[in-house]
């Protein structure tokens, strides 16, 4: 009878799994990248309470924050190509399927990050914006140079936690058939009848990356302390 776990198989799995980590990194990259830009735009828009837009944005954010990520992933992965085709973008059904995975995570991140940034912007004292206006800055300049940098500092811990949660959440993608590192570990386990080594490697990799991210965010937090 073979041992349940062997370090030999563990090391043999590493080169087979590691390339698939790139898939995870790409999902995180697009999720955070797009989510950050749209999230900040969304936060700024919502703070202006635009009469006709606000109810729509509110529903959007509530839906994305109030339903399981898996449900959103399934809806967007299977539904968005059809919706796009229906509105005239026929070639959408032939696009790389990964686009829709990125879109699902990005749209979800947009909602979560918009809430983090909205409360961070609200936490910047009103006097900061007023002082910026008083020295002659336009609204856009005042936000870009004074309010958003301070909001960014306030949002950082929440953003860090969200980043790490997304990183872990990407493993859901394998449920729509994406072979990320998680999917690859499972497939490897199924074909060799030794899944444990692969899963252990994935777990360790995620722990190391999470710790690395945390250290990075703590460093940023101290860098942006503005003397405090």
């Amino acid at each position: 009878m073979e041992a349940l776990f062997s370090w030999q198989r563990f090391w043999a799995d590493v080169p087979l799994l590691l390339p698939y980590f790139l898939v995870t990194v790409k999902i995180v990259f697009w999720g955070i990248g797009v989510g950050l830009v749209l999230g900040i735009v969304l936060a700024c828009l919502r703070l202006r309470h635009l009469a006709w837009l606000e109810p729509i944005l509110h529903i959007y954010v509530s839906f994305m924050r109030g339903t399981p990520m898996l449900v959103q992933l399934l809806i967007i992965f299977y539904g968005l190509p059809l919706v796009l085709a229906a509105v005239g973008v026929q070639e959408a059904v032939r696009w790389d399927k990964m686009v829709f995975v990125y879109a699902a995570f990005a749209l979800n991140e947009t909602a979560f990050l918009s809430e983090i940034f909205r409360s961070a912007i609200l936490a910047v004292p009103a006097g900061q914006l007023e002082a910026a206006y008083a020295v002659g800055l336009t609204r856009w300049q005042a936000y870009r140079r004074i309010v958003l940098p301070q909001a960014w500092r306030i949002a950082l811990p929440g953003f860090g936690a969200d980043f790490i949660a997304l990183f872990h959440g990407t493993s859901l993608a394998f449920l729509v058939g994406v072979i990320d590192i998680m999917g690859r570990a499972q497939a490897l386990g199924a074909s060799t009848h030794h899944a444990l080594e692969g899963y252990l490697f994935v777990a360790l990799l995620f722990i190391v990356c999470s710790l690395g991210l945390r250290v990075g965010f703590n460093y940023l937090d101290r860098r942006l302390a503005y003397g405090r």
Partner: protein, 251 residues
């Protein structure tokens, strides 16, 4: 030079400014006195469009704006020719003292960073804080922050500076250093409207004193007249209470 006419402002149903008019000549220091809630802060905030007045006109030399309907461009034009000093300083928390003073020059006026840095350091030296140029506001005392707040205003070479109780958030021992800087501003011939509860200072530095109550100008005139022979009963009551209160406080 600066003239405000018929300024009105309500919050919800409450009329906070009821037809306030005021003149400020070149280089003139005007002090506004009045009890709490009389609308002094609201008046200054309306002049810098930090609050939207319901009515009134503002003329600054050739620039004439309707306070209630001013367009973005007029608001910006007015703000770029005036400056504001806040009760709680409102220095930019994410910028050093030097960057605070440079910000308006570089971003609003388009002055080159090198030129702005030179001007900012001159202004900081002028308020005696050049050695703190690289510090963030959170590391500075209230008095130092307010002096930088004044440097940030003066560096823009404004035609008039609005100061809302510039010393009332300060510990008593720090008030003097800030008042000294304001005296310097007056000596430079920059016009100011100062809301203050520092009666002795107002009397010394002002060319003109305005007493407000209930959103109206009750009485105005040269400081000797307002402080020694106020005509209105309400002014007399206010000054009497204020002077005895503050005497009791400081003795």
């Amino acid at each position: 030079m600066l003239s405000l006419k018929h300024i009105r402002k309500s919050f919800d149903r409450e009329e906070v400014l009821r037809d306030v008019s005021l003149q400020v000549r070149h280089g003139e220091v005007v002090s506004i006195l009045g009890p709490s809630g009389s609308g002094k802060t609201t008046l200054l905030r309306c002049l810098d469009f930090l609050e939207r007045a319901d009515g009134g006109e503002l003329t600054l030399d050739d620039l004439h704006v309707d306070l209630a309907h001013a367009k973005r461009r007029d608001v910006l034009a007015m703000r770029r020719r005036t400056a504001f000093v806040f009760q709680n300083y409102n220095l930019f928390a994410n910028k050093t003292a030097r960057e605070n003073v440079m910000e308006g020059l570089v971003t609003a006026r388009g002055v080159s960073p090198d030129e702005a840095r030179k001007k900012a350091e001159e202004a900081l030296a002028w308020v005696g804080l050049l050695d703190k140029a690289g510090e963030y506001p959170s590391r500075l005392s209230g008095g130092q922050q307010q002096r930088i707040g004044i440097a940030r205003a003066v560096v823009l070479d404004p035609e008039v500076i609005f100061l809302d109780e510039p010393t009332s958030a300060l510990d008593p021992e720090l008030v003097g250093e800030v008042l000294n800087v304001i005296r310097e501003v007056a000596r430079r011939g920059i016009a100011m409207i100062i809301v203050t509860h520092e009666m002795a200072f107002a009397r010394e530095v002002s060319h003109h004193v305005v007493f407000m109550e209930g959103g109206r100008v009750i009485e105005e005139g040269p400081p000797e007249q307002i402080f020694s022979q106020p005509r209105e009963e309400r002014t007399r009551t206010f000054l009497k209470r204020y002077l005895t209160d503050s005497n009791m406080y400081y003795i």
